[in-house]
């Protein structure tokens, strides 16, 4: 019996269409649109001006505070505009537009950087480099990584968890990265262990990625400190709290972080970015994006420069198929439907999913039949039907008492509801109001 988290969870059809497709490099975009707010926290401050020439990897927006992140030029070229462009929600956000210079050698140079195995950098230097390189959680939450590595006094770490779960259906970006960059990821893990002084690390991979489990099993042979754990396939296992529970049987406190139980969790994509930043001094300017969909001519995994318009990715994957109804940024469970293909790829874009007409509808909501399905699948042990009703009736204090804020918005409740009730929509709204009601740091 494989390990998994005990409470709730679902198993939607996996549809990993692209797991056998090697990551290809997307042709250089003509122009990139780099939003200044690609991470959770304070937006970065623009430090370039119109007509400035920028080199790939140069800082174009400086971190605006502790919980913030630098943003680097993803291509070499000229800044043409400081404009606004719509984000995944459709609202216009500040961004930097850079026209790519196709002749600039640093744009073309994609030489295979040789693997640097030896770690020579000091721990403090490693942390500094991670914070300078604009690295954020690439699993999709985009939480600035250096904040997670900053231990406060009295906090003790004993395990580093590498998240290679990729529990969202369709997405294969992390899977392919593990297959193709295994040795680099392993060095990345050792860098983090060295920097944090953690004695051991566990790589959690779901059992539908046996090839990745085998590769890491081979790589970690003879190294007792780093272990690979195969996990039962269950959504949302990629959630930090679920993963910690599945691997270590430790319960992260209600309003706490994995750090409170001595664990730090990082995504494999983030680990690869850390490897590049520390060993090659290359900041985060590109990421792997899965472009997929059942009707798509050529679903693929791509190395994409940050700021590339989604339209370019769809074109490279064979163009928008006939009868497309919805384009989702992210996975089918937690992703957001896009309003336009002008939206640029950001640090948090893990996939672009093209959904045809017959699968795009949500179904007419009907009355709650009190079957309790939502309660049994909620991985946080909440009562989604109750939280929705409380929000509908504006009883936000009661909703706060029912722990609405611990909801991780995985969408399992909406997925299983036989009455097609928009549970998560209401809970998300309830959360936004409850957050405003509560003081910033509630007394324990």
């Amino acid at each position: 019996m494989l390990r998994t988290f005990p409470k709730g969870g679902i198993h939607p059809p996996e549809n990993k269409l692209t797991s056998g497709r090697p990551i290809r490099r997307l042709p250089l975009p003509k122009e990139v649109y780099v939003p200044v707010s690609q991470h959770i926290g304070i937006p970065a401050e623009i430090v370039v001006d119109r007509k400035d020439k920028v080199q790939r990897g140069q800082v174009i927006a400086k971190s605006g505070g502790f919980v913030s992140s630098n943003i680097h030029a993803p291509v070499s070229g000229t800044v043409t505009k400081l404009d606004k462009i719509i984000d995944t929600r459709g609202y216009k956000k500040q961004c930097i537009v850079i026209r790519t210079d196709p002749r600039d050698p640093s744009n073309l140079e994609e030489a295979n950087y040789p693997l640097i195995d030896e770690i020579t950098t000091e721990p403090s230097e490693i942390l500094e480099r991670i914070s300078q390189s604009g690295i954020v959680g690439l699993g999709g939450a985009t939480f600035p990584s250096h904040v997670k590595l900053h231990l406060r006094e009295g906090q003790h770490l004993d395990c580093l968890i590498i998240n290679g779960v990729e529990c969202e259906p369709y997405l294969t970006a992390d899977h392919r990265l593990m297959l193709e960059k295994g040795p680099e990821i392993l060095v990345g893990i050792r860098i983090l262990m060295h920097a944090l002084g953690v004695p051991r690390a566990i790589i959690g991979i779901e059992n539908n990625k046996r090839d990745a489990i085998a590769i890491f099993g081979e790589l970690t042979r003879g190294n007792p400190d780093i272990r690979v754990a195969a996990l039962q396939v269950k959504y949302p296992q990629g959630g930090e709290k679920q993963l910690v529970r599945a691997l270590l049987n430790r319960e992260v406190p209600k309003n706490g972080l994995p750090l409170d139980v001595g664990v730090v969790v990082h995504n494999v994509g983030t680990i690869f970015a850390i490897y590049q930043a520390v060993q090659h001094n290359r900041p985060l300017t590109e990421r792997v994006v899965t472009v997929t969909g059942k009707r798509l001519a050529n679903p693929s995994n791509f190395w994409v420069r940050i700021g590339t318009p989604v339209a370019d990715l769809i074109a490279a994957a064979g163009g928008l198929p006939e009868g497309t109804r919805k384009i989702v940024s992210g996975g089918p469970m937690m992703g957001k439907a896009l309003k336009s293909t002008d939206v640029p790829v950001t640090k948090g874009t893990s996939g672009i999913l093209i959904i045809p007409e017959d699968e795009a509808s949500r179904g007419e909501p009907a009355a709650c039949i009190r079957c309790g399905e939502c309660v049994s699948v909620c991985p946080m042990g909440l009562e989604p039907h109750l939280l929705m009703n409380l929000t509908e009736k504006s009883m936000f204090k009661r909703a706060a008492a029912e722990d609405i804020l611990t909801c991780i918005e995985c969408g399992s409740c909406s997925y299983v509801c036989p009455s097609h009730r928009p549970l998560l929509d209401y809970i998300r709204f309830g959360k936004s109001i409850t957050k405003q009601l509560e003081p910033k740091n509630p007394a324990p």
Partner: protein, 296 residues
């Protein structure tokens, strides 16, 4: 036989007297002084409990009125000046007369002029759809059309116009309590002074995009061209972020700005038709006449 009847009567009478005594003592011991003035003021108030005054209900507002020394900054929007005058008389305090206001919807983005570019399938409330995304059209400032304002109105003074998909205020019923203003996540509804015969001139748009982009999203969007600014004799118009705003404190309702607006985004209500001598202005007034009708 007679004994048992007598016994029970005596016992009940004794119990009754004892209970009465206890009740009397308790009511004396725990007596709460309740200012009779509060009750009288509450009776004067409209009993709508709409919270438009800022207090949680009419009783709470009455308490506030009785307890405050100076009530010049307190105002019941539903009762208006008449009620406030009565309250002031009853309390022997001074009130300041305020201009009555009425809610206006500052968006004209009907289905015809503002094409839908996406399909939304989530819950039909503005609060949630505004949280999820920027709306079914390309305008991220305009009305979402899910009717949170109509649901918030306790006076049946608003309804959704099915032809346009926009809310309409029935000005005669509007008490300017402000519930719709709070319910709207886009701040589209504004309280504007209800001058004599309910004449109003205001900009029916909140789009802050540059002209071209705004116009592409909605053909009656304000493009910030500043033509109205140039003709305004009273400097009542300000243009900020490509958007005009008519300040009701300075506007004299001269109507000069209405015909010059190239996108017809300035709305006039309840004005008589324009005079014949200016044919251009007349046709425009005819256009606006439809809106005046639906607004009244």
């Amino acid at each position: 036989m007679t004994d048992s009847i007598l016994n029970s009567v005596l016992l009940l009478a004794g119990l009754g007297t004892l209970a009465a005594l206890i009740l009397y003592l308790v009511s004396k011991r725990f007596y709460v002084f309740d200012d009779p003035m509060i009750g009288r003021v509450e009776e004067l108030l409209p009993a709508a409990n709409c919270a438009g005054c800022g207090s949680p209900g009419c009783r709470a507002f009455a308490e506030k009125l009785v307890k405050s020394e100076d009530i010049s900054d307190l105002f019941c929007p539903v009762g208006g000046n008449e009620v406030m005058k009565l309250v002031a008389e009853a309390l022997g305090k001074e009130v300041v007369e305020k201009d009555p206001t009425v809610a206006v919807v500052r968006c004209q983005g009907s289905c015809e002029v503002r094409p839908k570019t996406t399909v939304y399938q989530g819950p039909r409330t503005c609060a949630i759809s505004a949280l999820i995304y920027s709306g079914e059209t390309d305008c991220q400032y305009g009305c979402l059309g899910d009717g949170d304002c109509v649901a918030a109105c306790k006076f049946d003074a608003m309804y959704m116009d099915e032809a346009t998909g926009l809310p309409v205020v029935i000005t005669d019923k509007c008490t300017s309590c402000g519930m719709c203003v709070e319910a709207c996540p886009r701040d589209i509804i504004e309280m504007r002074p209800k001058k004599k015969r309910d004449l109003k001139i205001y900009v029916g748009c909140l789009n802050e995009e540059k002209g071209g982009i705004a116009k592409r999203a909605c053909s009656v969007a304000c493009i910030g061209c500043s033509k109205c600014l140039d003709v305004c004799p009273k400097e009542a118009i300000v243009i900020e972020n490509n958007l005009a705003y008519i300040d009701p404190a300075y506007c004299t309702l001269c109507r000069k700005c209405v015909p010059v607006c190239p996108t017809h985004s300035i709305i006039e209500t309840n004005f008589p038709p324009r005079k014949e001598k200016n044919p251009v202005a007349d046709t425009l007034a005819g256009d606006q006449g439809v809106k005046s009708g639906s607004d009244a």
